[in-house]
Symmetry: C2
Subunit: 336 residues, 2 copies
């Protein structure tokens, strides 16, 4: 099997210099005459030459690859975000490497290191524990996905979780609910303060007294919803409505409630946040607040591209993506 042809082979065959071939390959056509262009292209075709981007990366210090680092692609929230990112980045000639950190801080640092070793051009990250300092030290153009404190100097884009929760709570009170349980997703290094803050703020504004027992910390998955909902239903009186930090939790809650014989929404209303696909197929289908996942990915990619190409203002961008209330069957008027 013959070795792959290089730029030199092409140059020889076309009777020109490497430089000229390089110009053709990189589309710098203003610097090449029609004539030589033709010769070079014919040589490329006949040899089946393919540019070696490794070599070119070594010279240019650009790889045209970025990293997407998230907790787990298996969480149904992320694939759509990833699509948004890939569609935009792909259009600009970038490939994207995926990294799952599984909520483990050490993995985060390791992947960051991988990104540096491979001289990746950019990083899109939903951070767990990595600090702004670590990110800045890595020298990699970065966009934080998800609204977080602690990264004032880095571009950031996220769904407006605070107002998502507000929308949910407003909607539930409009239905007459006063005792609203909160299944609060919590990771080890959690920062879901905005949702918790949102809850407190809302109660205060609405003049509803706070009952601490209505707030239950749970894991971000189905099991979290199951366990949390059990605890809420032990309360006397139990909440007439429950808001979960995400749809996975809400669906878990939905199922325990149904199993325990509660009718939904007649006996108890349940809401999620995110609007993943599964939320639309439960029975009753889940009322939720939609996060624009694809859009989130696009915006993140846009910010990253601007940063990589040094377009846009030098100061860090912060973009907040609005959420929409999606009313389905799991919520109804408060009983009594």
């Amino acid at each position: 099997m013959r070795a792959r042809p290089t730029i030199i082979d092409v140059a020889h065959l076309a009777g020109v210099s490497k430089t000229t071939v390089s110009r053709v390959v990189n589309g710098e056509l203003d610097k090449v005459s029609e004539d030589t262009l033709g010769k070079v292209q014919r040589a490329i075709d006949s040899l089946g030459y393919i540019q070696n981007t490794i070599a070119s990366s070594l010279r240019t210090d650009r790889t045209n690859i970025v990293m997407l680092m998230i907790p787990d692609i298996t969480n149904p929230f992320w694939p759509e975000v990833a699509r948004g990112i890939q569609d935009l980045m792909g259009r600009e000639g970038y490939s994207v490497v995926f990294a799952n950190n599984d909520w483990i801080g050490e993995h985060e640092v390791e992947y960051l290191y991988t990104a540096r070793r491979n001289r990746l051009d950019g990083l899109l990250i939903n951070p767990i524990r990595v600090t702004q300092e670590q990110i800045l030290a890595s020298q990699i153009p970065t966009v934080i996905m998800g609204l977080r404190d602690g990264y004032p100097d880095i571009d950031m884009v996220g769904s407006d979780s605070y107002s998502a929760a507000q929308k949910a709570l407003e909607y539930l009170t409009r239905l007459g609910h006063q005792r609203i349980g909160l299944l609060l997703g919590q990771s080890v290094y959690s920062s879901t303060h905005s949702r918790l803050g949102s809850y407190y703020d809302f109660l205060e504004r609405s003049g509803i007294p706070l009952d601490e027992r209505l707030v239950v910390s749970v894991t971000f998955d189905n099991a979290g919803g199951v366990n949390g909902m059990r605890r809420l239903l032990e309360l006397e009186p139990h909440p007439t409505a429950v808001l979960a930090s995400n749809d996975l939790i809400a669906i878990g809650a939905l199922h325990v409630a149904a199993e325990m014989g509660y009718r939904i929404p007649e006996d108890i209303s349940i809401m999620g946040i995110d609007d993943i696909y599964a939320a639309s197929v439960t029975i009753p289908p889940l009322t939720t607040v939609r996060k624009q996942k694809y859009e989130l990915g696009c915006q993140a990619a846009r910010l990253l591209l601007d940063r990589i190409q040094s377009k846009g203002p030098p100061e860090p961008q912060k973009v907040k993506i609005p959420c929409q209330l999606v009313v389905r069957g799991s919520t109804g008027r408060a009983v009594g």
Copy 2:
């Protein structure tokens, strides 16, 4: 901001040659004395040196990056497969670039080209239209995911869709069903023959006469299920059970049926294939045949690693992963 230190800077500081540093960085510790090892490591730490894998790739002709090419990461089947792949490849030091071809043959070829330009070390692909010749010509070690004809010389791993369908049909006939509708997922360049063949074979073996109208070609998504199910329910008499090519289709079917007032499974049984997460949260939850998605990813990665590292036999491997019947609530005894 200072330029990144190179292997030469480390060599100077440690008072050794580049070669020695290279050996340390690459863990060839048997070729380095304790003493120099210490010196080099101290130099590396104090300079904050990070290996430039681009440069090393240029020399070694290995990138430690592979490509995963699938139709769409947004299809809930794939994230789990991807996890299996990433977990295994990651452990061996490989990163993985994702590519979505959106069922478009041209994209497939473009991504293949990208993989070559970037000198990726391997390719994991669920092929749409790309031929064995094109893949072999690319010189990239490849594993086909999904059982297909037309790639006799390439490693392949897939769920045993044929027997998955057999299991489903057997189960349904055991419940007394004789008129079984088939919602057959079909892409433009489709190759779901195995599932169709499985259906014909089964009818023949069971002595059930074939009614062509019971086989409906649909797209691989929710909408496919919706449209296909409408057609099946127009039949007189309509089927007492319906098997769909995947869960997305089945869930679509489930919803139309429910909307049209059919009780499930009392009036009609519905089954899917795959066992995606959403299948477990519908009401009734979907009876299905589970494909071991994570396992599939692991096996694919294993084959690719063996191929890359030239372990294992030179002849192409073909591995078939068994499926399991998962009985849930959407199926019941045939009426009448």
